[in-house]
Amino acid sequence: MRRRRGSIAWWLIFLLGVLYFFLPLVATLDFSLKAQPALAAYTNALKDPKFLTSLLYSLVIGLLTIAASLALIVPTAYWVQLRVPRARSLVEFVTLLPFVIPAVVLVFGLIRVYSRPPLPFTHTDIGSSALLVAGYIVLSLPYMYRAVDTGLRAIDIRSLTEAAQSMGAGWLTIILRVILPNLRAALLSGAFLTLAIVLGEFTIANFLARPAFGPYLNLLSQSKAYEPAAVSLISFGLTWLAMIFIAFLGREARTRIEIGGAH
């Protein structure tokens, strides 16, 4: 009897969770379909050339952010864990700073420093985009660092590194052939979290006047009624596809490490 009551409570909590997450989506979907004809908001959004260009721009910026973040964070987290484990709490604190410092402060700081000689980044499109990537690296730091750090903790990096060294491998070989392949699931989850942040980010892109997806969505909502809802759902769908992709790619690697580490 008690078990049945517990089971009902569990289902009730689950249902509340589902409603909390999906009701806004259903409402948005319902609202987006109010345009006449029913799918007009979606066809209009997809027809708008700015939709595709802004989405592609954000995707490219997202990929550059991921590449730069990985190049920065993987060696750092690896070195901290291997050689200076005492510095871990300090590094963790630094990676949490984006939660404390608002994006608007960050972007004004970037503009102030990089809009005048000797580093006038904001004077060119490439320079501004580089600043945008730099800002996104900072914003994604807490997620990317945690994902990589958790992945590193799941494997015995000290022994693996020493085993590879004793067989003649140098640092680059160790990172590329031994460490990175064993971090596949962690890197994928960090990468897609970063992509999700970049696709939805507004403040930095807007102040740097970049043609990104966030400012486009904002602009759309100021001039159209149903299209912003349709575009939001499309971007939500893309993010979900990315998450399913992570789960699919990461499943095999995770199983291998978990079973391998269970001896």
Partner: protein, 367 residues
């Protein structure tokens, strides 16, 4: 000059002296074990040979070439770890061939060598398996093959059997020794298990608190321990506090009963207290033939340990002395409390370098 030369190695971690004045010269093809309790410096010494730690002073030479300051990937030293350290993302064949791929050897040569090594460890059919699909013993055999693949000058094994269960440990250590003999590779083996060290090694280095206590063949280490630490760490041992009666004649007194050592007592004068080490298996029940040392006291305990039976006999007011006798269905044992005489030859009583702290007797076990 030896093939592997360790000269005056010192290593400190802050105020803690991990290794002090370590000296060893191992011949080509020799199997040397570092034996000692946790924290004695054996693994640190091994890691200095591998290049994972650098000595504060001293030098390391392999085949006459100084490697003290070389990074680990330039030393040509193979290492097997307690935790196996197989690469989880690679198959058995890829793990074994990793070092050869790093050295950019031809693909055909790698395939051939990997095949040979998998034959050597009796696992040719497991080439395509991943580490997580293997048992602990199989993983360690793969780790051994991987370390051997790059044809290292010296093979280092850091407690490779510690994570395995007893039966597999015995089987695998026989296999390790057989492979080592087959390849004639100079090997350094770290263990805290005396049975492992004694059964595998050409020579054993017993260590304590960062220092070498004794270097010798397993027989020398067991039968002629140089210090009371070696005597107590290796095997089971009775340590008797004895008063020197006549040093030149080797005459001693244990709880008022006189015994004789085979050699004169050096380093202690008449009336001084010394430690006498006595293996339980060298003591027999009964008076034995003429010329043997004899001690008398009541039986306080009898333990059946499978193939042997261990009796404990109290000498005066001190603790008991143990003696081992082979188990036999027809063995007649004295009842507990009965006074018995035990005997042992003078050469079985070894006077150790350090005097005992207080009169009495004790049993130390390295098991």
């Amino acid at each position: 000059m030896g093939f592997l030369e360790l000269s005056h190695l010192q290593k400190r971690f802050g105020a803690f002296a991990a290794v002090e004045d370590f000296e060893l010269s191992a011949q080509r093809g020799e199997f040397v074990s570092f034996l000692g309790p946790s924290g004695c410096g054996k693994t640190t010494t091994l890691r200095m040979i591998a290049g994972f730690e650098y000595p504060d002073s001293g030098s390391i030479r392999i085949d006459g070439k100084e490697i003290t300051d070389l990074p680990p990937n330039k030393r040509n030293v193979g290492m097997v770890f307690q935790s196996y350290a197989l690469f989880p993302n690679m198959t058995v064949a890829d793990n074994v061939g990793f070092g050869m791929r790093v050295k950019k050897q031809p693909r055909d040569a790698i395939r051939k060598r990997v095949g040979e090594l998998l034959e050597l460890i009796h696992m040719p059919e497991k080439a395509d398996r991943y580490p997580y699909q293997l048992s602990g013993g199989q993983q360690q055999r793969v780790a051994l093959a991987r370390a051997l693949a790059v044809e290292p000058q010296v093979l280092l094994l850091d407690e490779p059997l510690s994570a395995l269960d007893a039966k597999i440990r015995v089987a695998l250590r026989t296999e390790i020794r057989s492979i080592q003999r087959q390849l004639g590779i100079t090997t350094v083996y770290v263990t805290h298990d005396q049975e492992e060290a004694l059964s595998l090694s050409d020579r054993v280095v017993v260590m304590s608190q960062g220092r070498i206590e004794q270097i010798g063949t397993p027989s020398e280490i067991y039968n002629f321990p140089a210090t009371s630490f070696v005597a107590s760490f290796v095997g089971t041992l009775n340590l008797l506090a004895a008063r020197v009666v006549d040093p030149s004649a080797g005459r001693l007194s244990v709880e008022g009963q006189e015994i004789r050592a085979a050699m004169p007592v050096t380093g202690a004068g008449s009336g001084e207290i010394v430690s006498v080490a006595l293996r339980p298996e060298s003591i027999s029940l009964g008076e034995g033939p003429e010329g043997r040392n004899r001690l008398r006291g009541p039986v306080t305990d009898i333990s059946f340990l499978g193939s042997i039976v261990r009796l404990r006999i109290r000498l005066g007011d001190g603790p008991a002395v143990s003696l081992d006798t082979f188990n036999d269905p027809h063995l007649t044992l004295p009842p507990i409390g009965q006074a018995v005489t035990v005997s042992f030859p003078p050469e079985a009583s070894l006077v150790l370098d350090q005097p005992a702290g207080a009169p009495g007797a004790g049993v130390a076990s390295g098991e």
